[in-house]
Subunit: 154 residues, 3 copies
């Protein structure tokens, strides 16, 4: 048991893997934050998707009018889905990349640029910033993932 633990500890003590773990946790927590942003807009804009969510507003037509879409809610949901579409590839390709033995400095560059790009993308989506702000931040994260995939497949 303790030898196994030591072996695992060695894996997690590997610098590149530690970096992957840190930035993956950050970027996943950022993605999870989108759930709270959506919930905040649903409550403040009174715009819900499920009848049972509006039951506290009364019965019948009085509650039904809050079963609607709202631009801010939909914007947060699109941002969340875009996170899923881009962070899932980072999760998978980043893990394989971290295990492929890259230089620590190169790996950190990839992880940090991706994380920064996704944080900027969220602000660009929610504020919203004029284009090409959001488009560029999306493209930077996308390019970093392609670069890691190239290293994995090589």
């Amino acid at each position: 048991r303790s030898r196994e633990m030591a072996k695992l500890t060695q894996l997690i003590d590997n610098d590149v893997f530690r970096a992957y773990a840190t930035y993956t946790a950050i970027v996943l927590l950022k993605m999870m934050l989108m759930s709270l942003v959506t919930a905040y807009f649903r409550v403040t804009r009174k715009a819900f998707a499920n009848p049972e969510d509006t039951a506290s507003f009364g019965k019948g037509e009085n509650a039904k009018k809050y079963l609607r879409t709202d631009p801010d809610v939909e914007r947060a949901r699109r941002g969340h889905l875009n996170d899923l579409e881009n962070i899932v590839p980072f999760l998978g390709i980043g893990l394989l990349y971290a295990l492929s033995g890259p230089d620590l400095s190169t790996a950190l560059l990839h992880f940090r640029i991706f994380t920064g790009a996704r944080i900027i993308h969220t602000f660009a989506y929610l504020i919203p910033l004029p284009q090409p702000g959001r488009g560029l931040s999306w493209a930077v994260g996308y390019a970093v993932t392609i670069s890691m995939a190239y290293q994995v497949l090589k």
Copy 2:
């Protein structure tokens, strides 16, 4: 080859990693079940998204009327998307947490509560249960993932 295999077997024989593997497989299978639930509602409610899916109902207007949304289909799809939004962070953060060398009992507590919360969330969404049933089950799974992320980043 056989020494590598032994090494991998050691990883998979680690108790915490085995627990992660088991609960991850369960929760991903539960998520995959949502595809079947959606398909079931699409077929029984005759509510499809693609013209080619309604071709068996005839041609022209006769088939076109089944290109529609249905409350039960949309409810299953929202449940599926909510699974993706919450199980993807569990997948990534849970793996890093399992590799960070936690106590087996603490790890099991995290994995079991998360899995239970997501199963209850699915029932709460599909039955549906009155709020805050769904909200609470969502929050419990969310809190477990945050707790694991805290251990990883520490």
Copy 3:
């Protein structure tokens, strides 16, 4: 440091894990391609979701008319979401399966059939092929993932 690296290199040099890495990277890159397909349809069909994306078409009503849904855009988005729903389970269950010490030939069979099925699914969705083309390709990928999950839980 170099001993750790050697250990990681051993993991990545394991044949089954290398196969998992290769097919995971391919299938995630394929999924990422859906972002470009959606963007292509948004630009050529002039159908956008965010007001800031249509600012270059002018101001007021002139830009607002491009805030609309388009069948080709929605089709690409559904294909992308279906990828997420099916590739996320493959990512997680496939990793655990690769670490569970399967035969290389059996593992390759699983990874290749899944990857092939998802590529066919994309063509079936985008062309689109008549049913049951898309349905069958979806079911094959689904069955492969179930088969791997069964090996993991056994």
